[in-house]
Structures are given as structure tokens and as C-alpha cells.
């Protein structure tokens, strides 16, 4: 197989974002005609960035793309499609009120902008495509009324209608039920039979093992290696995907956890599409303990946090804080009861970018008496408070009256952590606390979380950064498709076991 010319080659691709983030550090991949290539990696490894470059959505900083031996450069997705490369995104790009037929023919409806669309002809063509692939989708129903799995097939049809012969699927199973996954795989096998080439982006080991011919593993913007699936084992892939180098050292003295501060019982939460994002979780966080939740993003972590922080409806189950049932309580009550929340979305939730450091320093505690003088806000006290936060957490800011958007990401995050800690909570949710944060700030924040734990606070850490969870947690759970694959102690588990659990293989639950 290695001798033939690849149908597609991406050579030495480098992508540096305007803010300096190096997403890809010279990635080379080869795809051969008629194969299913798996692209495996953790969140932020660079899989999607690489494919967006291939699909003409992003410009590479450096590097070349060869299609059937010829160098190509795509200016837009339409350009890529015209060259026979199609992509189905994780988040579908469908016009929700259009039916399948309209979505599929959009942009290539036939001759004459102002002549009647030849619906019958399109229908015939589509019917033929569907018959060949051995599946059906309703063509006349608005796609918003169709299940996610069907919408995905419409996306695939949309690409095939344009005669693409290389199809990229970005985390196609992330939103599917197990039955839908099986159906999707059947479609993919049919496509392969027809000679199509498929790039399958995933972090799920079982799926990669099942459907691909070869797997290229990417980690932190670099290719770790490429293996034939028939020669790979889940264990090997897990090691390749997760294997890492620890940079940061965190001092963490041993500590006996105290009483249960926070408890979740059989929690069910729905996602934005109405799917069950959290499926019956039960766990507890004790005083003086960091409980970490690891796992690839999009496995229900966001929904879990929002539900316990009062920002999303709990479908079923109970949440307790210090023994009190807090299910369905609003954020304001929760904060007054001793909860603090470092949200995962810094810029859209944790801060109001256009407002000042001062104004942001009291968000979620602005009603407290210490900041009021009669019915007026006491800006002097607020300023003192903001100054205290800046000093204590070494936030580098032009001043307390500067808009928060003028701060760097790391300093914005430190400001949030400072504010949340200043609420004097007993229980802190820290969601992706160091994402997109510089190394110095990361170290500071991680050490601070440990300090809180040493001060006998209960900390719930949710992070897609496995190192972070491993380093900080006293106990950790690995979340996959809304459930815990296991709850383990970081020092009693191997990388391989964690990799397997992140890929959806259940570990041994710990007593």
C-alpha cells in the first residue's frame, strides 16, 4: 500500500493563530485511495484545524497540499468541494427550515437562476444515491424536525451530490446514539466499497478500531505516528494519544478528606439538541478534596456543570450542597449558600468584556451589603475590593477602570479565579480553569486550587486537559457520553487505562 501515490497528501503543515498559539507544528499526513483513515487525538491536538485547512476554511501558515500528486490551494470550502473534497462538520451547516432536498441542492440547483427548480430530477438523482448507499432520508421534511443521525446523513448526501470522492467526517459519532453509530458505519463501509476515500476524525478508540484501515495519531499539533488498524490495539492507540511530558510541578501534601460537602444523585441533564447529555451521574466531593472530571470535551461535562451551577434544567436526580437540596436553585441562591463557579467560557460567561475590572470584580456578589451604601453601589468599596484581587492574584491590569477586554487571557482568568475565591465559598466548581492561559498563570491557578483544598474547601475540577486532572485531583472520574467510565485515584491508574476510559472502555469502578 505504501508504494502507491497517495490520493491526498498534506505536507509539513504549520498553523500559528494570530494570538501566537501554535496549533499545528509541521504535520504530514497521507491518504490513499479507497481507504478509511482515522485521525485520532485528544481535544486541542489539532485534528480539526488540520481538516479545516484541507477544506479551505483556514489558511495554513506554512505547508503544502497535494491532490493526486498535484499541489492545490483551496480558497474556500466551495473550492475544496469543486476539487472533490467534502467535509461533514461536528456542528452541521444545514438550513434548519429547509427540507433535505433544498439543503442538498442549494448552490447547484440546475440551470437558470430564475427558472423553476427541477425538483423531480434532483429527487431522482438523490433517490439513486440513497439506494446505492442503502439508506433513506425523508426529502420533504424541514431538517430541524429530523433526528441528528438523519441530519448527518443529509450532510453526507449533500457532499456526495457534489460528486466528492474524499469525505472528511469530524467527530461524526459525537452526537449520535449507538444505533445511529452502527447505521453510520454501514454507510461508511458502503462508501468505501464504491471507492470513496474517507478521513474519520475521532477520539473514540473502539470506533477507530472498528471502522478505519489506518490510524494517524496527532498530539499537541504533531503526528505521533501512523499504524495499520489491523496491527494496532486499543492499548497502543491510547498510549500514543495520551502519552505526555509533564512540565509543571505541583506540591500537593497528602490530606485526609473531610465530610461530604457536595453530592449529586442520579443526575440527568439534556443538551441543547434535547439529547440526554448527562445520564444518571452520582458522585460526591468532600471537604479538602479535589475531585477531577476528565474526558474528551462534548461528553456532557458542560451540561453537568451548568446543571449544578443553576444554569440548566435538571431533568431528573438531586443535587445537594452541605446537605441541603439545591436542585433547581438559581445561581444567586447558590452563591449565597457557599458555591463559587469558575466557568469554562471565560469571555462569554465569566466576564463582561466591555465592562471594567471593577465592575467585573463583583459579578455574582454585587448584591452583598459590603458593596452598598444605602441603595447606591459604593464604588469606593468596589474599587478597594478590585485592587485587593489584583494585588493578591498578581493580575496585571492597566487599572481598575480599564475594560476587561484589555487584559490578556491569563490575567482575565486570574481575575475570575480571584473573584470566585473572594466569595468565600465552601464548594468551588473549576471548569477548564487554565484553558488558553499562559504557563505562569496556569501554574499559579493550579497551585491556588491545591491551596483551597488544603484549606479544607471542596473543589470540583472539570478539565479536558488530562495532565491537569491527573496532577491536581485526589480522586478523578473519566466522563464519556454522559456517564463515568470509572472513578479512580490518579496515582493508582496507568495512562493506558485512562486512555481506554476516555475512548469509552469501562474501567473497574473503585471502592
Amino acid at each position: 500500500m505504501e508504494e502507491q501515490t497517495p490520493v491526498l497528501e498534506m505536507r509539513d503543515i504549520v498553523k500559528v493563530y494570530p494570538d501566537g498559539t501554535k496549533a499545528l507544528k509541521g504535520v504530514t499526513i497521507k491518504v490513499y485511495e479507497g481507504e478509511i483513515l482515522g485521525l485520532l487525538g485528544e481535544n486541542g491536538a489539532g485534528k480539526t484545524t488540520l481538516m479545516k485547512i484541507l477544506f479551505g476554511m483556514l489558511k495554513p501558515t506554512r505547508g503544502k497540499i497535494f491532490l493526486r500528486g498535484k499541489e492545490v490551494r483551496f480558497k474556500s470550502p466551495a473550492d475544496a468541494i469543486a476539487n472533490g473534497i467534502g467535509m461533514v462538520h461536528q456542528h452541521f451547516t444545514l438550513v434548519e427550515v429547509f427540507n433535505a432536498l433544498e439543503n442538498i441542492i442549494l448552490g447547484m440547483e440546475g440551470h437558470g437562476l430564475l427558472s423553476k427548480i427541477d425538483v423531480e430530477n434532483a429527487r431522482k438523482k438523490l433517490q439513486k444515491l440513497m439506494d446505492e448507499l442503502n439508506f433513506q432520508v425523508p426529502l420533504d421534511v424541514p431538517v430541524e424536525n429530523l433526528p441528528v443521525g438523519v441530519q448527518q446523513r443529509i450532510e453526507i448526501l449533500k457532499m456526495l451530490y457534489r460528486d466528492v470522492d474524499i469525505l472528511i467526517l469530524d467527530e461524526p459519532t459525537a452526537v449520535l446514539t449507538p444505533i445511529e453509530v452502527r447505521e453510520l458505519f454501514a454507510v461508511l463501509r458502503k462508501l468505501k466499497e464504491q471507492g470513496k476515500t474517507i478521513i474519520f476524525i475521532s477520539h473514540k478508540l473502539n470506533e477507530v478500531m472498528e471502522i478505519t484501515d489506518r490510524v494517524t495519531v496527532i498530539r499537541k499539533g504533531e503526528v505521533v505516528g501512523t499504524v495499520k488498524t489491523s496491527e494496532a490495539t486499543p492499548q497502543l492507540l491510547a498510549r500514543m494519544m495520551v502519552g505526555r511530558d509533564v512540565v509543571l510541578r505541583i506540591e500537593k501534601p497528602p490530606k485526609e478528606p473531610g465530610e461530604v460537602i457536595f453530592r449529586v444523585e442520579d443526575l440527568w441533564v439534556k443538551g441543547d439538541r434535547g439529547e440526554d447529555a448527562v445520564r444518571g451521574l452520582t458522585f460526591e466531593v468532600r471537604a479538602g478534596e479535589i475531585f477531577g472530571i476528565a474526558g474528551v470535551e462534548g461528553n456532557g461535562q458542560s451540561e453537568l456543570i451548568e446543571a449544578i451551577a443553576g444554569l440548566r434544567k435538571v431533568e431528573k436526580g438531586k443535587v445537594y450542597l452541605k446537605g441541603v437540596d439545591i436542585t433547581g436553585k438559581r445561581p444567586r441562591e447558590l452563591y449565597d449558600m457557599g458555591m463559587a463557579h469558575i466557568p469554562e467560557d471565560r469571555t462569554h460567561m465569566g466576564l463582561i468584556l466591555e465592562m471594567s475590572v471593577m465592575e467585573n470584580s463583583i459579578l455574582g456578589m454585587h448584591w452583598r451589603k459590603e458593596f452598598s451604601k444605602g441603595f447606591l453601589l459604593d464604588w469606593n468599596k468596589v474599587e478597594e475590593h478590585a485592587k485587593r484581587l489584583i494585588e493578591e492574584f498578581e493580575v496585571s491590569a492597566p487599572g481598575t477602570k480599564a475594560p476587561v477586554k484589555s487584559l490578556s487571557g491569563g490575567n482575565q482568568q486570574k481575575l475570575i479565579v480571584a473573584r470566585e475565591v473572594s466569595k468565600r465559598p465552601d464548594f468551588i466548581i473549576a471548569a477548564q480553569p487554565t484553558r488558553g492561559v499562559d504557563v505562569a498563570s496556569t501554574e499559579y491557578i493550579r497551585n491556588y486550587l491545591v491551596k483551597l483544598r488544603n484549606e479544607n474547601k471542596a473543589v470540583l475540577l472539570v478539565s479536558a486537559d488530562l495532565d491537569e486532572v491527573l496532577q491536581l485531583s485526589d480522586r478523578m472520574a473519566i466522563m464519556y457520553e454522559g456517564q463515568f467510565m470509572g472513578i479512580v485515584k490518579p496515582d493508582e491508574v496507568t495512562e493506558e487505562q485512562i486512555g481506554l476510559m476516555m475512548g469509552g472502555v469501562k474501567g473497574e469502578p473503585q471502592k
Binding site: P331, I352, L353, G364, F375, L377, G399, K401
Partner: protein, 348 residues
């Protein structure tokens, strides 16, 4: 240094507004010139009529009062993430409420309170439709403006008409009128009410918890919710406070404008303030203090228009042309950058 920082924050919006005003004046001059008038003469009389005499200044300030109040309606909305264009209809109701209530309670405070209250009440349906049915406020408030127009017209023509003057409603009784600040002009306490309202709104918006919650909801509803703020509650407050100032504008108009102290036929003398107020708010950068200045500017344009028509024979509607151009200029994204760029290139 802190003060300097703070001032720098205001510099850009102020500069953008000044630039927009300049564009309005310049394009207005071109229109005048093309139409065969002398721009210099027109502007000369515009300034003389509005600013060169006590009477002119009094007229300028008197005209600015309702504009400041309706501008605040829009500004509170804008600061809360809402496009509330409902001031127009609320003004009619505020004026009518003042007339009705002062027939029974012959006291200026009663009249103003009536305007305030009816303003708050009339704002509620749009607020409820927005929060509970997701009806966009631009659409609903335009509808409510029309409904207000016809309902108040009916009250004016069929219920509270003046038996002695078929062209107007019952007048505000003399003891309930807002006292004049300068005898022989139309400058009354309505202006003081407008300025006080602007200051109160400024304090509420920037120095109270409620204002903090309203602004947070407007800037970032998700962050607001996370911060323990109910964005829906904020939206309702925004409509209600905005309704109050628009209602006051209407009450002040009929209670403080000699000689009629009544609503005239076709609601002519209470018409248009709501929409002009939007322009005032935009030029005043949706800030109560900026609005005071912008309101006085627009007031000066109206006040000077009469002199311009009399002496330079330019139709007084010319000022609406200038106002319209100013607002379109304000709508150009990055207006200042557009103009600053060629200069920067020159430096290089």
C-alpha cells in the same frame, strides 16, 4: 492618571459624534447650495435664532426637554440590549394622562406623576411580549405607537375635547401648569424635569445595583445569568423606566408649553418627539449626560429653524435633513477610523 484614563474612554465616542455632526452640517450645506440657498446665511440665522439671545436660548432649552426624555427611553433600552422605539406612542399617552388627571387634581405634581405612571404601564405589554413570547421589541413598539396614536386621538377628539376650541383638547388648568423659568418664553420647569431625570437615570444606571444588573444584561445576558442576575427581569425594568421618561416627556410638553397647554388636532404638537429622541440618543452615545448635550443641540436646531426660515427663507424642515444625515453618519461602522486612516497614511 486615573481621571485621564477615564476621559480617554469618552474621547472616541465624543469625537465620533462630533464628526457625525460635522458631516451633517457639511452635507446640509451642500443640499442648501444645490437648492439655491446660501448655506452661510442659513447657518448664520440658525445660530442667531437659537443661541444669540435670551429668547433664543430659552427656546432652545425648551425644545430640548422632551427630546432629552425620549432619548433616555431609547438609551436605557440600548444599554440593556433592547431596541425600544416605543417612546413616540408613550409621549401621546403621557400628554393625555396629564390632561385628564389635572382636570381633577389641579396640581403640576399630579400631572407629572400621571405621565410617569401611564408611561410605565404602557411599556408593560411590549415588555411582556418580549420576555415571555420573544416578540422583537422593534416590531411590537412600532405597533404600540400606532395603537397609542389612535386611542389618544379618540380620547382627544371624542372625550376630552375642548368645547370652546374644536382643534384641541381641554387645556391643563392654570394652577397645574409648570411654572415658566423666564417670563414671555416657553422655557418652563419641564426643562428642569428633563435634566433631573437624566441625572437620576445616570445615577440609577451607573450607581445602583439595579443599573449594574441592567447594563450587565445588556452587554452579555449569559454572563448576567451566571452572575445571579435575571435578564428577563432586567428587560422588564428597562421598558418600565424607559416608559416613565417618555411619559414624562408627554406630560411636560402639555404642562409646560404655552400658549395652548393642550394637545392640538391630529396630535400635532406631541408628534415626532419619540423618533427624534432616538437620534438624540444615538448622537449622545446612549449616555444620559451625552444626551443632555445632544438634546440641546437638536433643540437649538429646532429653535433656530424659525429664524432661518424668516430671514434666510430656508424652509425650516431643512433641520430634519441635517438631523437625518447626522444619524446616518452615526450608523457608519468605524466612522472615525474611516476618516483617521488617510491621515495616518500621510504620517508614514
Amino acid at each position: 492618571m486615573n481621571l485621564k484614563n477615564e476621559l480617554r474612554g469618552y474621547a472616541k465616542p465624543v469625537a465620533e459624534s462630533v464628526l457625525a455632526i460635522l458631516i451633517g452640517v457639511l452635507v446640509g450645506a451642500l443640499v442648501l447650495w444645490f437648492s439655491g440657498y446660501s448655506p452661510l446665511e442659513a447657518y448664520y440665522w440658525l445660530i442667531v435664532g437659537s443661541l444669540a439671545s435670551t429668547d433664543g436660548i430659552a427656546e432652545t432649552l425648551a425644545k430640548s426637554a422632551p427630546l432629552i426624555l425620549t432619548a433616555i427611553t431609547f438609551a436605557i433600552g440600548a444599554r440593556t440590549g433592547l431596541f425600544n422605539v416605543g417612546a413616540e406612542g408613550t409621549v401621546y399617552f403621557g400628554a393625555m394622562a396629564a390632561i385628564i388627571v389635572t382636570q381633577y387634581l389641579q396640581n403640576p405634581i399630579a400631572g407629572l406623576l400621571a405621565g410617569l405612571l401611564i408611561g410605565a404601564l404602557w411599556a408593560l405589554p411590549a415588555a411582556v411580549l418580549k420576555v415571555y413570547r420573544g416578540v422583537h421589541e422593534v416590531i411590537s413598539t412600532i405597533m404600540f405607537n400606532w395603537i397609542a396614536f389612535f386611542l389618544v386621538s379618540w380620547l382627544a377628539v371624542s372625550v376630552y375635547y375642548n368645547p370652546k376650541d374644536p382643534n384641541s383638547t381641554l387645556p391643563i388648568p392654570p394652577s397645574a401648569r409648570l411654572p415658566l423659568l423666564i417670563k414671555g418664553t416657553s422655557l418652563s420647569w419641564a426643562f428642569i424635569v428633563a435634566i433631573l431625570s437624566a441625572i437620576i437615570v445616570f445615577i440609577v444606571m451607573w450607581h445602583t445595583k439595579l443599573g449594574y444588573e441592567l447594563r450587565t444584561s445588556g452587554q452579555n445576558p449569559r454572563a448576567a445569568e451566571y452572575g445571579g442576575i435575571n435578564p428577563k427581569r432586567s428587560a422588564i425594568w428597562s421598558f418600565v423606566i424607559g416608559g416613565m421618561t417618555a411619559g414624562l416627556a408627554g406630560a411636560g410638553l402639555v404642562m409646560g408649553t404655552p400658549p395652548s397647554y393642550a394637545i392640538t388636532q391630529g396630535l400635532a404638537n406631541v408628534h415626532g418627539y419619540g423618533f427624534d429622541g432616538i437620534g438624540v440618543s444615538l448622537v449622545g452615545r446612549n449616555h444620559p449626560l451625552g444626551i443632555i448635550f445632544a438634546g440641546i443641540l437638536f433643540g437649538a436646531l429646532s429653535a433656530g429653524a424659525t429664524a432661518m426660515q424668516q430671514h434666510a427663507h430656508v424652509p425650516l424642515e431643512m433641520i430634519k435633513v441635517i438631523e437625518g444625515i447626522i444619524i446616518i453618519a452615526v450608523a457608519v461602522p468605524g466612522l472615525l477610523d474611516l476618516f483617521a486612516r488617510p491621515f495616518r497614511r500621510g504620517e508614514a
